[in-house]
Symmetry: C2
Subunit: 282 residues, 2 copies
């Protein structure tokens, strides 16, 4: 495995999906106990306490918000449904602004139910992103397109490579004015033969977030069997090095969907392991 300078513990952030069974306060207080400085909440966890209370909880714990999850899911069969998705993403931008989030993560959406028209779905994503970018700019909340693994194309996202995400950024933001970029999740992109080239292409302007976990061997579920850093096959130091060379100096956000393992463990155990693995293998 690639070796490089040690990780800085102050760069560690935890996505609430890693602690699936916990509410926002429980997660935030856990991070506080473990001296972890960053958090990335999913919107349902924010909604459970309300946005004002969420902001207070995060502030009380001194937490940076590395991203809010999520907007997107743009493709749909009817124009009315597509507008609902856009409206929801506009609200998500407001929420991200209220929380002081570094970005709003966009999970772009897969094929509409019953459709096989992938190019059309991809156009709907482009149109949806385009319809939200102005509001994102005025709220000063960058949109982070998260390319998702090709095994999610049908159901979660038809944006499946970093190249494709950056092509969208270039199309929607041709003057590189910013406010649109990418979230790089190691789990989704580690396999890509074009990864290094595209991370370099993205550069500091477009690299808005860095999510980490690991790809288990074997993987037993397409969505909920992600591994803790170090338990799988991803060369995380190589990817971090590549991100840093391209100018990324943000946090490293641990996002582990793990129904049968990490989600069943106590908060303090999970956070202790995240901290030690971040120090030792990332």
């Amino acid at each position: 495995m690639t070796r490089l300078r040690p990780t800085d513990p102050s760069q560690l952030s935890i996505n609430t999906a890693t602690l699936w069974e916990s509410g926002l306060r429980e997660v935030a207080e856990g991070l506080c106990r473990h001296g972890i400085r960053g958090i990335a909440p999913w919107r349902d966890r924010v909604a459970q306490v309300g946005i004002a209370q969420a902001r207070r909880i995060l502030d009380d714990c001194g937490l940076s918000v590395t991203g809010l999850c999520r907007g997107g899911m743009f493709p749909a069969a009817g124009a009315g449904e597509r507008q609902l998705a856009i409206d929801d993403s506009l609200r998500a931008i407001d929420e991200a602004a209220a929380l002081g989030a570094k970005c709003l993560v966009m999970v772009c959406g897969g094929l509409p139910e019953g459709s096989r028209d992938l190019p059309a779905a991809r156009q709907m994503v482009r149109d949806g992103l385009g319809a939200t970018l102005g509001h994102a700019r005025s709220c000063r909340v960058p949109i982070a397109i998260e390319p998702l693994h090709p095994m999610t194309t049908a159901e979660r996202s038809c944006i499946n490579t970093l190249c494709q995400a950056l092509d969208l950024c270039d199309e929607l933001d041709p003057d590189a004015a910013g406010a649109i970029g990418v979230a790089i999740d190691a789990y989704h992109v580690w396999w890509d033969p074009d990864l290094q080239t595209q991370v370099e292409r993205a550069g500091k302007l477009r690299l808005l977030a860095f999510h980490i976990c690991d790809w288990l061997r074997p993987t037993t579920d397409l969505a909920l069997d992600r591994g803790m850093m170090g338990d799988g096959v991803i060369d995380l130091p190589r990817l971090r090095s590549c991100m840093e060379a391209a100018g990324y100096d943000g946090m490293h956000e641990v996002e582990i969907f793990s129904k049968h393992n990490w989600w069943k463990r106590p908060v303090d155990e999970v956070l202790a392991v995240c901290k030690s693995r971040h120090r030792e293998v990332c």
Copy 2:
């Protein structure tokens, strides 16, 4: 879904993996009963009866061999193991020649056990292919690199896009002398935003095989939950049209790994459905 001219039933071929529980003779006789003209055997099914007997069975049934599965699995920790994989692929070339197969399909191999070094694994694949190409040429058996879905990177193949496979072809065969190309499996490549461009790039010279099945929504297993054509979300007519526009005029080989559905059904039922779906939705 894209519509185009009807499929020609004489272009239908069945990969023996679609009839997992059956031996070579049972498959061949089934194809004969249903008037299907092509077969693609896995080597274990050939080995069960021996190569000479296999040839007789296929000839008796008047079957074209659209491909032999498989050579490859090149990456390994030690040089000795890597040589074993090369030797095995050389034997596979001999077997493909003895059966009159249109190509030898290469499933290139994933990460060596315990390794996180994806670039090194990809070099091992290049070296392995390079070590077999001369023999393939002298036996007049083209090698068909099959890019596999990125969800197989760790365990089955670190060649995951058509672009990457074609880059290997160009590197190993810079003069386009032939004997190396690609097998396009709809299941593995349907998600690729660069698919049409790369099929065009491949052209008639490099398009050696076309595998069909479908991507189910949802998919419950990373390896053994493929769908029958028409039961999933792949726009097969669009892909066929693209293949034909690029010059492909070979057969359409049905390869369905389906542990909990199609593998449990009688041979005649599976073949009847393959025939009708090939006619109606491909």
